[in-house]
Symmetry: C2
Subunit: 346 residues, 2 copies
DNA sequence: CTGAAAGCGCTAACAC
DNA sequence: GTGTTAGCGCTTTCAG
C-alpha cells in the first residue's frame, strides 16, 4: 500500500537456500563464515547473496541473538558545543567497536527523557549513555534500570548514588580556579549566572565560585547571583535580571559557554560593552571561541575525551569486563586564557 | 556471562498470560488497547504489566509488523553548525511523528557512508535521509536503494538524477548574490575557497561566484581559486595555499562557514588582519557569528527548515502519501550583513 | 561438513 | 470476547 520497504520483497536466507538447494542453516553459517562449512559452499552462497542483493535482517538476528550491538544515547541538546563534540567522539568510537548508536534528544524535557529511555529499552539496546536534563529530579526510571540490570553510564550531567558509573569534568575545582583567577586580576564584585541546584553541574560550579570567594574573604552579594538553565536564552534572561537590579557586578562567571553567549547578546542589546563595562568568564568553551570579540576566558572541558571514556566504559560493562561498584571519574580541566578577564580597570 | 540485558530475564507477553491464565494474544491485544477485549481484562493486563515492569520487545514486534517506525539518517559531520541545526530539527519533528531516528556519521568517508547505509538497511529502517560526503562519486549504492524501492531523500549535499527527492539551499543564486554584493562594494580581486566539484554545493557555489564575476566583467584569476573540502582545516590550508602565491585577492568567498573560520585561523597565525588586510564572505553562517570579530557577512541557510521539510517529505513517502517523480526543492536564502565586506578600502 | 527441529517475542487471521 | 494456529527471518542445538 505504500512505497516503503515492504513493497519489494526482501531476499531472505530461505530464498538463497532454495536456489542453491541447500538448507537455510548452511546459508546462514556460510554467510557468517563459520568453520563447519566447505569453502566451496561458502563461495557459492556469498556470490549468490551478492547477486541477489541480500541484506541480512538484523531484526530477526537480534531476536534470536538477544543482544543488538546497539547503544542508546540520551542527551538534552545537540546544538551546544560540549554535546556536539562529545557525541561526535562517541560516534567515532562506536564505529570502531562496531556498535550502532541510537541517539535521542530530550530537549531538556524530563517527559521526553523518560519516553526515550523506554523506547530504547523496548529496542533492547545493550546499554545506555545518558546526560540528564536540567530539570531531572525524579530518579525512579533510573532505579528501574538498575533493578533490571541495564548497563548505564552517566556523563557530564549525572545522578550519583544510584549505582551507575559517572564521568564528569572537575566542575567544582575548575570553577574555583577560574574565579580565583578573576580575584587575582583584581575583581571583587563577582557575579554568577548559574544552573539549577538540582543538577550536579549547577551545584558544583556554584560551590566552586563560592569557595573562591570565601577563601578571598569577598562578599557574595545575592543580587549578583541568578540561577536557571544552561542555554543561550538562559544567559540572556539571566543578564537582563541582573541588569534590573540596582548595581551590576564587575565580572560574571557563567555556568556554561552558551550562557556566556547569552550574556553577550543581552549586553549588546543594552549597549553594554564587554569587557569594558562588564566582564565575563565561563565554564566551558568552544572551538570558535578564539574568533570571538572578545574571546572568552573559560574553563576548557575535554568533551571528546569524556564521550570516549564514557562509551568505552559502557562497552566494557556490556561485554562483562567491568563488574566493580559505582565509580566516578572526574576529568581534569584547565583554563583557556583569552581576551576577557585580562585586568581590572580602574 | 555478562552484566548485560540478558542477565535479568525480560518479562514477555507469555509471562503475563500465564499469570492471568489467558492467552498471549489476549494480552497483546489488551496492551495495544484493541477493541475486541473486555475492559476488565484490559485493566487486569495493564496493571500486571506495570507491576512486572513489562517492556514490549520492539524487535519482535517489528519482525512481524514489517515496518519499524524508524528512520535512518546519514550525515557527514555533526560538529558543523549547519548539520547541528538540521539534525536538531529532524529530531524534533521525528519525535512529533513518533518516529525514531537512527543517526549515523560518515566522517566524510565514503566507505563509512556505505557501511552505514547497509547497516541501516539491515536494521530495516522505513526510510533514509542522507547528506552525502564531500567525496561521494560512486552512486551504485543509491541505485541499489532505488531498485529496492527504499524511500530516500537527499538534503543539502545531494545526488540528482537517481529518482530521489532532494532539498537544498539556493546555492547558486545565494553565491551569485553575495559575490555581486562584494562587487558593488568595490571589490574586484575576489577569490574563492571552494568545495570539490563533484559535489552539488561545491559546483553551484562556485558557478554563482563565476556568474557574478562574469556579469561584472571581472577577471577570474585562477590563482585566486582553490578547491577542497568543507571544514575548518580545509579553509586553513586553502588560505595557506593562496598565501603562497604571489598576490592575494582583496576578498575571499568561502564555500562554507567552517571554511571561513579556517581562513580566520590561518590569517591570525600569519598576522594578517581581517577585514583590514584581506576580507572574507561565506556561504552559510552560525548562530554565534554575531559575536565574532569581525562577524562574517554570509549567506544564511534555513538549516532547521531544510531538516524539517526533508523529514516530513520522507514520512509522507513512507506512509504512501507521496508518489510523484523526483522533485527538487530549492529553499531561498538571504544574506546576513555583518562586519566583513563593509567597504573596500583604498 | 550438512540439515532438521525448535525457538526468540510478537502479531494477523481466523475460528470458537 | 477470547484462543488457536501460523509465521516474521534468523540462529542454536544436535543428530546424521
Amino acid at each position: 500500500m505504500s512505497a516503503n520497504l515492504k513493497s519489494k520483497k526482501q531476499i531472505t536466507l530461505a530464498d538463497i537456500a532454495k536456489k542453491l538447494n541447500i538448507s537455510k542453516v548452511a546459508v546462514s553459517k556460510a554467510l557468517r563464515n563459520q568453520s563447519d562449512i566447505s569453502a566451496e559452499t561458502k563461495k557459492k552462497v556469498v556470490n549468490l547473496a551478492k547477486e541477489l542483493g541480500y541484506t541480512p535482517n538484523i531484526i530477526a538476528r537480534n531476536l534470536s541473538a538477544k543482544n543488538t550491538h546497539t547503544i542508546g544515547l540520551v542527551i538534552p541538546k545537540i546544538n551546544h558545543h560540549f554535546f556536539a563534540e562529545a557525541i561526535e567522539s562517541i560516534y567515532k568510537i562506536a564505529s570502531q567497536h562496531n556498535y550502532e548508536i541510537i541517539m535521542t534528544v530530550s530537549q531538556e524535557s524530563t517527559a521526553e527523557e523518560i519516553k526515550h529511555i523506554r523506547s530504547l529499552m523496548a529496542m533492547r539496546v545493550d546499554g545506555l549513555l545518558i546526560s540528564v536534563t536540567e530539570n531531572t529530579k525524579e530518579t525512579s526510571i533510573f532505579q528501574e534500570m538498575k533493578n533490571r540490570g541495564v548497563p548505564l553510564i552517566f556523563f557530564d550531567r549525572i545522578i550519583e548514588g544510584l549505582g551507575f558509573h559517572c564521568i564528569v569534568s572537575d566542575d567544582e575545582y575548575g570553577s574555583y580556579e577560574i574565579v580565583k583567577y578573576a580575584i587575582e586580576k583584581g575583581y571583587t564584585k563577582i557575579g554568577h549566572i548559574g544552573g539549577y541546584k538540582n543538577t550536579n553541574i549547577g551545584k558544583l560550579r556554584c560551590s566552586g565560585y563560592t569557595k573562591a570567594m570565601e577563601e578571598a574573604n569577598l562578599e557574595i552579594n545575592p543580587d549578583f547571583i541568578v540561577c536557571g538553565g544552561f542555554s543561550v536564552s538562559d544567559g540572556y534572561y539571566g543578564f537582563m535580571k541582573l541588569y534590573n537590579n540596582k548595581s551590576l557586578p564587575e565580572i560574571i562567571f557563567t555556568v556554561t559557554y552558551p550562557v556566556a553567549l547569552g550574556v553577550f547578546k543581552a549586553a549588546k542589546e543594552l549597549g553594554i560593552s564587554i569587557p569594558n563595562d562588564i566582564d565575563v568568564i565561563s565554564f566551558g568553551d568552544a572551538s570558535y571561541n578564539q574568533f570571538l570579540n572578545p574571546s572568552i576566558t573559560g574553563v576548557h572541558q575535554p568533551a571528546a575525551e569524556i564521550g570516549k571514556i564514557a562509551l568505552e566504559l559502557l562497552i566494557d560493562q556490556i561485554e562483562g569486563r567491568l563488574l566493580i561498584e559505582e565509580k566516578k571519574i572526574v576529568m581534569p580541566v584547565k583554563i583557556n586564557f583569552c581576551q576577557t578577564c585580562v585586568k581590572k580597570e580602574n
